[in-house]
């Protein structure tokens, strides 16, 4: 009666430690420039090498420019940080897909697209959106830099086993409603701390019907309800996605791997600590109104009053920051920026969806629209399909791969006081730049907002696309 999570977790326990912790073996470790330098320094200070360099892959994503990526990075601190990743990877023998490499991109985009992410594995990265990889039926979670160093030194982390939650979404998503809306809806129900202490398995017919990219969008935002990670049972959709990718198993190895992966789904009589069920038909296109991802609502709803999920003080602070008020309708509200990108929504399907909507149209006057593909491979594919031209003709900028305006570490920032409809994952104060006001939405809703210059219900205005 074990769950998918139990099966993967238990297969990776090296030893039990008195007091409830376990030594958990980590199959794959992804690193990037921002959360790794202090870990490499720690190894140097201790005089130790990497335990298993073959299990680590590095890329530069958080702090790279998305314009003129072939030139040296102009900003000195960013340049130093990216150069340090290169130096560290060379010194310690880590495979690096740095700027200019055809595999470079957001760490949570490249892992899956290269076939590194697989069902049944444990995977960590010094980034909270590592939960993305759970879409393959992997246990994947974000860690801090001390743990990055631990994994580098021993290929293990020390953790107590999280509790188990299952979220079922049954039925069929309505036209114009995407995986992003599904997860924003769930987070709005549970709040930004509702999953704390848990690993979440997403199940139900609406989840099973999602593509791998949709599943990644869902698992990506598990952390936004406080969960350590999210995962989805591997199935034929999963296997079809992985097969033939650069580092995917081949031949007899592939057959053996798939046979193993088929044993992973949760047993029918398994029990979860917590379980929720939602109807897919109840999920509208979602937007956020506040300053955490739990402050979300249907695009036509009115901003709700304070509640158990969001207390008076938090709501007051959020409304003040966003310059919005309780009871306000946001549909029709003018916006300033549209950002299509991030580890949540920068994959080829996201770009196709947004591209189909903007094709033959122009973004509204005064709107700045930026499209940032998740990886060099996504960019290459988009260009091959002519999507770069679709976006550019419509008035968007089509940039190089990176995390970009999701977290505003590089120069891609939203100015203070401006509203940005963003396909990213966090609407925290200042996330996209000091004073920036973020409204999270799906690629479809973001693209529609760029064309209209205001927040619109994609179900009405673009029903033709459904």
């Amino acid at each position: 009666m074990p769950t998918l999570f139990d099966k993967v977790w238990d297969a990776h326990v090296v030893t039990e430690v008195p007091g409830g912790n376990q030594v958990l073996y980590i199959d794959r470790h992804l690193i990037h420039e921002v959360t790794s330098p202090q870990a490499f320094n720690g190894l140097r200070q201790r005089g130790i090498r990497l335990a298993r360099p073959d299990r680590i892959v590095a890329t530069a994503d958080h702090n790279v420019p998305t314009k003129e990526q072939h030139k040296p990075i102009a900003e000195p601190l960013s340049r130093k940080q990216v150069e340090m990743l290169t130096t560290n990877c060379a010194e310690f023998g880590v495979e690096l897909y740095g700027l200019g490499h055809p595999y470079q991109g957001i760490v949570h985009v490249i892992g899956p697209e290269l076939g590194i992410t697989r069902p049944g594995i444990t995977m960590v990265c010094g980034d909270s959106h590592t939960s993305t990889h759970g879409a393959f039926g992997a246990i994947a979670f974000g860690i801090g830099t001390s743990q990055v160093e631990q994994v580098m030194a021993t290929q293990c982390v020390l953790m107590s086993k999280p509790k188990k939650m299952r979220i079922n979404v049954e039925g069929e998503l309505q036209p114009g409603v995407t995986a992003k809306d599904l997860i924003l809806y769930v987070i709005a129900q549970l709040g930004t701390g509702g999953g704390t202490g848990h690993f979440v398995e997403y199940a139900g017919s609406a989840v099973c019907a999602l593509s791998m990219e949709g599943r990644m969008t869902v698992c990506n935002m598990s952390i936004e309800m406080g969960a350590r990670g999210g995962l989805i049972a591997p199935d034929q959709t999963t296997f079809d996605y992985i097969e033939g990718r650069e580092f995917a198993p081949r031949g007899a190895d592939w057959e053996a791997a798939v046979a193993h992966w088929r044993t992973l789904p949760t047993d029918v009589d398994a029990v979860f600590d917590t379980e929720y069920t939602y109807r897919a038909e109840d999920i509208p296109p979602m937007i956020t109104y506040g300053t955490n991802p739990g402050m979300g609502m249907g695009v036509t709803d009115l901003i709700p009053m304070a509640s158990d999920l969001h207390g008076e003080a938090s709501m007051h602070k959020a409304m003040n920051y966003m310059d919005l008020h309780i009871g306000q309708q946001m549909e029709g509200m003018p916006i300033d920026y549209v950002f299509i990108g991030s580890c949540t929504n920068s994959r080829i399907e996201d770009l196709r969806l947004a591209g189909a909507l903007v094709q033959g149209k122009q973004i509204a006057p005064g709107i700045t629209g930026i499209v940032v593909p998740g990886s060099q491979q996504v960019a290459k594919q988009a260009i091959a399909e002519g999507l770069d031209k679709v976006f550019e003709t419509a008035g968007f900028e089509f940039r190089g791969a990176g995390c970009s305006a999701c977290l505003g570490m590089n120069e891609d920032k939203v100015p203070a006081g401006r509203y940005c409809v963003s396909t990213s994952n966090r609407n925290f104060e200042g996330r996209q730049g000091p004073g920036a006001r973020t409204i999270l939405a799906s690629p479809l809703t973001a693209a529609a907002a760029a064309i209209a210059g205001r927040i619109v219900d994609v179900r009405n205005e673009y029903a033709v696309l459904a």
Binding site: A153, L158, S160, G193, N292
Partner: protein, 198 residues
């Protein structure tokens, strides 16, 4: 890591829920490649306006001081950046008290000897009221006994921490020391399994 045993001090109140790590240390300050110096930018955008003038924020209010940061529920949600724990510690705090913490932040704090103290919502509310009435009120965090005491009201509340982590904190041990001591078991694990991961 510095050992932690017991601490009696005043506290700085931050009675806001869901304080995320982007507030604790904004991303633009994550370009440093060492662990030091992040305290200067702790809560940067809540402390200073864009001209770097101090704002009306508790860390700028001389009435409040102390080694404990007392914060609303779900403290440290969001990004996994350990820089958040470094910034709080570098600023001078030794413990953060809340009714619950985001998982990754909690782990990061523990790995740096910054003690996350989880108390009941009622005890937290009482502590906030105490500070409101008397900013000089003192609180004791006793790791050995696993108790949090509101010295003003005399209320004593227990807090959970696993035995292993408690031992680490009391002695200043890192997880990495422990994990390195497990090398033989790790090798045996690697040798003894069918691996489809790589």
């Amino acid at each position: 890591m510095h050992p932690f045993r017991t601490l009696t001090t005043t506290a700085v109140p931050l009675p806001i829920e869901d304080v995320d790590t982007d507030q604790i240390i904004p991303a633009r300050f994550l370009k440093a490649t060492t662990r030091e110096g992040f305290g200067e930018n702790l809560f940067r955008d809540w402390r200073y306006d864009k001209l770097n003038h101090p704002k009306d924020f508790v860390l700028n209010n001389p009435v409040y001081a102390g080694d404990i940061l007392m914060a609303g529920a779900n403290f440290g949600c969001g990004s996994s950046r350990e820089h958040a724990a470094w910034a709080i510690q570098d600023f001078g705090f030794r413990a953060v008290v809340s009714s619950y913490f985001a998982d990754i932040f909690r782990g990061n704090a523990l790995n740096n000897g910054l003690l996350p103290v989880t108390i009941t919502p009622e005890a937290l509310d009482e502590a906030f009221r105490t500070i409101e009435q008397n900013p000089a009120a003192r609180f004791t965090v006793n790791l050995l006994e696993q108790t949090f005491t509101n010295e003003d009201t005399g209320t004593v509340t227990g807090f959970p921490i696993d035995e292993y982590k408690k031992t680490c904190l009391i002695n200043g041990y890192d997880d990495i020391d422990f994990l390195l001591s497990q090398a033989q078991q790790i090798e045996a694990f690697e040798a003894g399994r069918v691996d489809h991961s790589i």
